[in-house]
Symmetry: C2
């Protein structure tokens, strides 16, 4: 197969030299024709420029970025490493980064480690060898692959952390959502609408899981809202458990007035199962989510707190552009979105 590939590409690449010969000019002239804006280029007449461009068109000349990279030291490539890519929010995050970078002439290489340390290593090694201009990393396992980080800094490749709660490494900037504020916004909304007893629906109990952390933040936020009471918390791992959860609420003497969910995915399911269990939403029970990314085929128009990934991407991009890699934590403010799954009891 190596042979086949070699045989299939006997057509030598069209180089500047070939183009120069074809157009009857020097290689520098070709370079100048393509980068007329730069100050480093020598001046050429518009006529020769047109002649060169025409020749390029004719020969099908395509500049080779790799050679360019070799001399400039910049690959105009940025690596993005996530733990997974299974939610609409992460998709939008990748898309936001991609737009920003492509717009500015960079190519984004998004990858997910899928929580495998081995895969994470492989991907980061690739980024390293390919001399990516910057690595953006979410929930990086510093313990296991920390040595690679050092390699990056040795190669002069900056690392930006995103989505982490705190700076985990000196000399590397972190951009994350202001998680404390998320639950504060939810509680303020519910409190404002006269709701008192609330319930938390998370996805996993494991200490330090994102779901458990939000529960802690919720507890804090409840304390700050006089009148609000956290009546209980459940863990919902799938649709069957959600059905049980709904049945459980049905049997309570005094069911909560609102279910605060870990994220929109859970909130959608909770809203559906509560409705099927016979609750009217939001009249009898309110539901809130977190993340704010919807699809027209979502059954409920959720009240939620939006985590604006575009702003996160912009903040990370700014750090990159300004090469401001000092140890710092940039917090992105979440935004309350009021739709149809809570209702003002005070009215």
């Amino acid at each position: 197969m190596e042979l086949k590939q070699a045989a299939a590409a006997p057509v030598r690449q069209v180089t500047v030299a070939m183009l120069a010969k074809h157009a009857g000019v020097s290689r520098v002239a070709v370079y100048a024709a393509f980068n007329s804006g730069k100050k480093t280029t020598v001046g050429i007449s518009e006529k020769t420029r047109q002649k060169i461009l025409a020749a390029a068109e004719e020969l099908g000349y395509v500049p080779n970025d790799l050679a360019r990279t070799l001399v400039s030291g910049q690959s105009r490539t940025v690596g993005l490493l996530l733990k997974s890519n299974d939610s609409l929010m992460l998709q939008r995050l990748i898309s936001a980064f991609s737009h920003l970078f492509v717009e500015h002439g960079y190519l984004l290489i998004p990858e997910s480690s899928e929580s495998s340390v081995k895969r994470e290593r492989e991907i980061l090694s690739h980024f390293l060898h390919k001399r990516v201009d910057c690595v953006i990393v979410a929930w990086f396992g510093f313990d296991s692959n920390g040595d690679l980080l050092e390699q990056f800094s040795r190669c002069g490749i900056p690392v930006i952390n995103i989505l982490n709660r705190q700076v985990e490494h000196p000399d590397s900037a972190t951009v994350s959502f202001d998680e404390e504020q998320v639950m504060r916004l939810v509680c303020e909304l519910l409190s404002r609408q006269g709701i008192r007893r609330i319930w938390y629906a998370g996805t996993e109990k494991r200490e330090n899981s994102s779901s458990a952390c939000r529960l802690n933040y919720l507890r804090e936020a409840v304390k700050a809202c006089p009148g609000l009471v956290l009546a209980g918390a459940s863990c919902i791992a799938d649709a069957a458990e959600c059905r049980e959860f709904a049945a459980g609420l049905r049997q309570m003497d005094v069911p909560p007035e609102a279910v605060v969910c870990y994220n929109d995915r859970v909130a959608q399911l909770v809203a559906v199962e509560l409705r099927i269990a016979g609750f009217r939403i939001p009249e009898e029970i309110a539901v809130t989510g977190v993340d704010g990314y919807t699809d027209p085929y979502d059954p409920a128009r959720l009240n939620t707190v939006r985590l604006p990934v575009e702003k996160l991407a912009e903040a990370a991009y700014r750090i990159f552009r300004e090469a401001d890699y000092r140890s710092q934590l940039v917090r992105i403010a979440p935004e309350l979105i009021e739709r149809e799954t809570t209702r003002n009891l005070k009215q």
Copy 2:
């Protein structure tokens, strides 16, 4: 900022030359130490090899793939261009490709054009300049950006089409799902279970849209199944329309026994709204989807036809490895998945 970056990287890269000097050997020896498997390398003693590797560790030497690329002509990079990346299926597709390629030492660069011809151009230009080893393209707009295709072939970069229904360009292989079989599997299942009157729930009416095509295939498949009748077809663009659709079925004298949906996303919503409208599923009405990618938080355990993206990715990868880029169409067979949203009426 250019200045800052330049100032931030005065640490010259660790090159083979530096490493060779540090270890007291020649550059070729270093090369041999790193590629002991290749036949082109000269032989070195294990002792010197260890010495060199130790020195590499000490200096933090990282081989530069870009320089390697320049001489070998292979960037070990593959571009994947999709129209969008908003479904679980496409995510899995990307992930399947990424696994295959990363495993074999390539880096996948997935991008979505988001149906913008301009963005599609930008991304393809990037791929071209970066001298990607292969471009995999889904639903490419040959009309608008066809000229770029020619550039690819001129640079010796193969193009593989995926997900398209037919080969749209000579000399380029296409890998796609066998769409005709999808609806045939659905109809056979329903027919086997004694269902007679079915209804189609699509997403858009536009001629040639994927949704309209599946409806056509459904019509064909119905003809082939004696006893099966397509009682009607609806177009559902969002949750509100789905609610109306469910209400409509409720008011029918003889509602259909099954709703065949365009994909799983629609099927989930249809299942939810039918249940909320008071239908029992699958006792009173069956629901089927297409694609087979689920999430634990999906409310219904759908009967569906799985489109196996891993197999599609493998087929495309095989074409790449074997450099078998002749004009050909590889069809991937879909797989019926029986779960809980249809029920055997014959029992």
